[in-house]
């Protein structure tokens, strides 16, 4: 019976195809996706696009010119190179933190929905974590542990999972009463198997949206912490470029040192927002 029910469901390709068709009709979503792809390509191809900015030169704080399309900083280093290499670091930290947060958040969200006895305790844990003053705690931990990419990833992930857990739990709660879950229980499926085969696929769409949004927030957090001087000093990131500009006093005298990394951050945040909004609308039959 359960096998018949499962096979009677529309094939997943069909849903995916419908979602993709609806998504393609949304120009802002497509543009967001393209910008993200472009940023990812910049991150991957950074060594081909610009030399790694290091050392110093005599061209200190030179505005945008043919030689330096985005100008130079207070040590005469190319801002274009910094933004390009910063893309790699910012996205890497953002993505890694997001993956950690998604794994933890999904595990806790699904566990809360699936194991009723854990729901209250995990709910309290999520509420408690959400009520913490995130930025001061991030600053405190990053300052105490010392700045590095690993620190940033762990700190950002540690404060990003509760939102994922809450969203995933809500979605999983709508999956749990479904008949196929009850049927899977009846035929003696183990908890792990049921979660893997039935619950996780049910929450996958919100997880996809969460990955994009959490990455975006993680990139912002990375930029914020780096701007405050808690970034990894051995790697360029967008926040580090802003931090250097602020610290050297060129914030108010050399606009190019702050504008271009800010634009990069803006592009990433806007494109992820547009992409996730468009995807959300495309997969929802009511807004498709």
């Amino acid at each position: 019976m359960s096998v018949e029910t499962a096979t009677a469901l529309p094939p997943s390709e069909s849903t995916a195809a419908q979602t993709w068709r609806a998504f393609r009709r949304n120009p802002l979503g497509v543009a967001g996706g393209l910008v993200l792809v472009a940023l990812a390509l910049v991150a991957i191809a950074a060594p081909l696009l610009a030399d790694y900015p290091s050392g110093s030169s005599d061209d200190v704080l030179v505005g945008p010119s043919a030689g330096h399309p985005l100008g130079t900083d207070d040590l005469g280093r190319d801002v274009f190179g910094q933004v390009v290499w910063g893309t790699r670091m910012s996205i890497a930290v953002g993505f890694a933190a997001s993956v950690l947060a998604i794994i933890a958040g999904t595990a806790i969200g699904v566990a809360a929905a699936y194991f009723k006895r854990l729901d209250t305790a995990l709910g309290v844990l999520v509420d408690l974590s959400l009520s913490l003053p995130v930025l001061p705690l991030m600053i405190l931990i990053a300052a105490l542990v010392g700045p590095s990419a690993t620190t940033l990833i762990i700190v950002i992930a540690a404060f990003s999972w509760p939102e994922v857990a809450r969203v995933v739990r809500s979605q999983a709660m709508t999956v749990m009463p479904q008949q196929f879950i009850a049927a899977a229980n009846v035929i003696g499926g183990s908890n792990t198997w049921i979660i893997r085969k039935h619950v996780l696929p049910g929450v996958a769409p919100v997880v996809v949206v969460s990955v994009v949004m959490t990455t975006s927030r993680a990139v912002l957090s990375e930029a914020g912490l780096s701007f405050l001087g808690l970034g990894d000093p051995d790697n360029w990131s967008w926040g580090t470029i802003l931090h250097n500009a602020q610290q050297s006093g060129s914030l108010t005298t050399a606009w190019w040192t702050t504008l271009f990394p800010s634009v990069a951050i803006l592009l990433l945040v806007v494109s992820t927002t547009l992409l996730s909004v468009a995807y959300n609308d495309a997969r929802n039959p009511k807004t498709r």
Binding site: L75, G229, T252, V270
Partner: protein, 529 residues
């Protein structure tokens, strides 16, 4: 369906743009605020930190010093070359082969409650510092035995051994506090002194708004001011988020003076502004890297020499400091200290091939990895640390930068928990005393963990001389050992730039960022045209 989607997307976009605009504007504006600087009877000074300690014997941040220097007198001030000049003390001398030191103090200085500043206050202060081992002064007066007031204006110190550095150290570094106020506290070191201040400077603290402002009112009579009266009725310190916002406030006329030295980039732009004036002040300290000589592989001389050879000193001065620094000749006796400087000192040569050769000789031909800690809030060090890292990489040494929050940095430095320590000393004006603290076995600020019997002997010899000329030879020999053994890699001596509104005149310049033009004599004489 599609219009709804588009509207959502536009709403999302608008929200993100709005948030981004807020972030950008917040970053650009930083701390903001209050009015000031309009009246010629008041000077508004910008600073980037709050006062942490109102107890002048304990506080050691720049803002602490700027505020408490206006309230608590020191026996001596210093001229532009670091030589001691009278302040509360009028004269001083050593006696009995350097085991006694005598100081005469002014008879016309009074605490704000009307009681005279007397020899008893000096005796009380030094006894408290020695007994409770308070601050850096305690480390500088290891030879102190006892003190007694010979009269209300004469103090005699008895020393446990001849010490030619004692008077200079006590005279400049120790603020004198009122015995009748601080004496009531069970512990002088723990006395917060955060209200009802009784002071004896040209201005007294009257109002504190944490994170905002510190208001000090004029004190009369103040004998070191013209006609016993400081020119200004009020000195206000305003707290800003960072030096960028401070300079914006200075340009807008919200404040009259920036107490912090300007980063080189900002200094250049301020110099071109005809509404502002800049003042160049030499440093009495130096910027340096110390290698933890007790930690492998930095215990090997070749490794330290390789690190020194991998640094492009000229690039640091030219690019990171924008020319606002001079070479230290890789010596702890920097050219600023004319009476101590050794003309034979030479800067380490930047030679990457030599660095590689030395590294191979030390058994690290495949390169090595080290970490370097620094205070991430120090703009100059954060800049040159990157140049040092990039230079070392060429020589096969990977330096991992650890820009730390100040308290973590200080704790790691104190615990000697680092490979390389990048930092700067604000004032190292008295080599026999300072080198004792920085390089003798177990010295208070011996961050490199140096323990070299020959060096200790030479520094002790210099410290025992009451005549600076007699101390010169042993201290120069000690400095040569420090340079040869690379116990300290002194990078440069900074030239600080300070900025104030063009209408202001009368400032008295003193060396170092701690004194600059924000010192008691200067603010007692400053006036607006």
């Amino acid at each position: 369906m599609r219009p709804v989607t588009a509207r959502r997307a536009v709403r999302g976009l608008a929200a993100v743009l709005g948030a981004a605009a807020l972030v950008v504007s917040a970053a650009a504006c930083g701390a903001g605020g209050a009015s000031g600087g309009k009246s010629a009877t008041r000077i508004v000074i910008g600073t980037t930190a709050d006062v942490v300690n109102y107890n002048p014997l304990v506080g050691n941040s720049r803002t602490d010093s700027w505020v408490t220097n206006l309230m608590y007198p020191k026996l001596m001030s210093m001229d532009m070359e670091g030589k001691r000049v009278p302040h509360l003390a009028t004269s001083w001398e050593y006696a009995e082969g350097g085991t006694k030191a005598r100081v005469k103090i002014r008879d016309d200085m009074k605490w704000t409650d009307g009681k005279p500043v007397s020899a008893d206050d000096v005796v009380f202060t030094i006894d408290a510092v020695a007994k409770e081992k308070i601050g850096v002064v305690a480390g500088l007066i290891s030879s102190y035995g006892s003190a007694k007031a010979l009269s209300p204006t004469e103090v005699e110190f008895t020393l446990t051994k001849p010490d030619g550095t004692f008077l200079d150290n006590v005279g400049f570094w120790m603020a004198v506090v009122p015995a009748h106020v601080f004496g009531k506290a069970p512990s002088v070191a723990k006395f917060a002194n955060d209200s009802d201040w009784v002071s004896a400077g040209p201005y007294k603290l009257t109002k504190v708004e944490r994170g905002q402002r510190y208001v000090l009112d004029r004190v009369t009579p103040y004998p070191l001011a013209p006609d016993n009266t400081p020119n200004l009725e009020q000195v206000v310190f305003r707290v800003f988020g960072d030096v960028n916002t401070e300079v914006l406030a200075l340009r807008n006329g919200e404040i009259d003076l920036v107490a912090n030295a300007l980063p080189p980039t900002l200094a250049k732009s301020v110099q071109n502004d005809n509404k502002l004036k800049t003042v160049e002040i030499p440093s009495l300290g130096w910027a340096h890297m110390q290698y933890n000589v007790q930690r492998a592989p930095l215990d090997k001389l070749e490794v330290r020499q390789a690190l020194a050879a991998a640094v492009d000193y000229e690039a640091i001065r030219k690019s990171a400091l924008q020319g606002a620094a001079v070479s230290s000749d890789s010596s702890v006796l920097t050219p600023t200290l004319k009476q101590w400087h050794d003309p034979s000192a030479q800067e380490y040569r930047h030679d990457v091939a030599k660095a590689k050769e030395l590294l191979a000789k030390a058994g690290h031909a495949d390169g090595l990895t080290l970490s370097m800690i620094y205070d991430q809030a120090d703009p100059n060090i954060a800049k040159w640390a990157q140049l040092v890292r990039d230079g070392a990489k060429e020589a096969g040494i990977e330096i991992k930068l650890e820009g730390l929050e100040r308290n973590t940095y200080v704790a790691k430095g104190s615990n000697r928990d680092f490979d390389i320590y990048a930092g700067s000393w604000a004032i190292m004006d008295n080599p026999p005393a300072n080198l004792g603290l920085a390089f003798k076995c177990g010295g208070f600020i011996n961050y490199a963990n140096v323990c070299d019997p020959e060096l200790d002997k030479l520094i002790s010899q210099a410290q025992e001389q009451t005549d600076p000329q007699a101390a010169k030879d042993p201290i120069q020999r000690a400095a040569r050992i420090i340079s040869e053994q690379v116990y300290d890699n002194v990078l440069y001596v900074e030239k600080f730039t300070f900025a104030h509104g063009a209408k202001w005149t009368g400032f008295e310049q003193r060396p170092s960022e701690l004194l600059s033009i924000v010192n008691p004599e200067s603010l007692a004489k400053a006036k607006a045209n």
